[in-house]
């Protein structure tokens, strides 16, 4: 039997790796990749809580499905934004997209 903590630690680690990607990658697409990792780690959490909690109560899986939907929406809009920015400013480096600075 696998202890619940293993899943949670795996999820935390995956989250941190994703966070590192988000904070450190230069490419905007790569940042979105990091966000996907973070969302997936959340899903691992949700599903393991479902499995280790009351199985008859489907909230964990339902939430995971809603996370899927949110992830799909986020990726489609995010990538559309990246492509739009690339078309206008010819770059996808996040640091170079700084029009909103003072």
């Amino acid at each position: 039997m696998i202890p619940l903590s293993w899943y949670l630690i795996l999820s935390a680690a995956l989250f941190s790796v994703g966070l590192f990607g988000v904070l450190s990658r230069r490419n905007a697409v790569a940042i979105l990749l990091g966000i996907e990792l973070m969302l997936n780690s959340v899903n691992i959490n949700l599903v393991s809580f479902w499995r280790y909690g009351n199985v008859m109560h489907m909230a964990g899986q339902v939430f995971a499905i809603i996370v899927f939907a949110v992830a799909a929406a986020e990726v489609s809009v995010g990538l559309a934004l990246v492509i739009s920015v690339y078309r206008r400013r010819n770059t996808v480096i996040a640091d170079e997209i700084d029009l909103m600075k003072w």
Partner: protein, 175 residues
């Protein structure tokens, strides 16, 4: 250590390893392919957790759609794909530190949590998780509202994505 645990450790290792490759590899296409590997491992973890529906949906949605979309996006912004300049920004060590701190914080919080020693819940015989999930998602006492809201969100994202990514030079969107 049982076979199940060994399986889990192998999968977890694969997940984390490929995730690390996602955030560090230089070639973005490879990063996307590594992401697919990660997502696939997560699907296996779902299967280990007896969430078969989610495992398959993970493959369909993430690998079948999202990852492919990433590869498309990378290819469409191709100039930077071949850009051999460093893929990490100059503050990457701050990011690394913060990530480690986050992990540490989460780990500490988990240690202090009383529910950590919980055991696997028994799945009653004849319990059909897929059917149950479907019922929950569509019943008024369940989650029909969040489900519908999520679908509205998806439609909005679809429209928004089409509008945002539309190339104004290639034609008039209002035509």
């Amino acid at each position: 250590m049982t076979g199940e645990q060994i399986t889990f450790l192998v999968i977890a290792l694969a997940t984390l390893g490929s995730a690390l490759m996602v955030v560090t590899t230089r070639n973005l296409i490879h990063a996307a392919l590594w992401l697919i590997a990660t997502l696939f491992s997560v699907a296996v973890i779902f299967a280990l957790l007896s969430a078969s529906f989610l495992a398959v949906v993970q493959v369909v949605v993430y690998i079948g759609a999202i990852a492919i979309l990433f590869i498309f996006a990378v290819m469409l912004t191709r100039k930077d794909m071949r850009d051999q300049s460093p893929q990490l920004n100059k503050n990457w060590w701050v990011g690394a530190l913060l990530a480690v701190l986050t992990f540490g914080g989460l780990y500490t919080l988990l240690q202090g949590w009383s529910g950590l020693s919980r055991t696997v819940a028994d799945i009653p015989s004849g319990f059909d998780a897929v059917a149950e999930l479907g019922t929950e998602l569509t019943s008024f006492t369940g989650y029909v509202l969040p489900f519908e809201v999520a679908s509205v969100l998806l439609v909005a994202a679809l429209v928004g994505a089409v509008y945002v990514a539309f190339n104004p030079r290639s034609g008039d969107i209002r035509k």
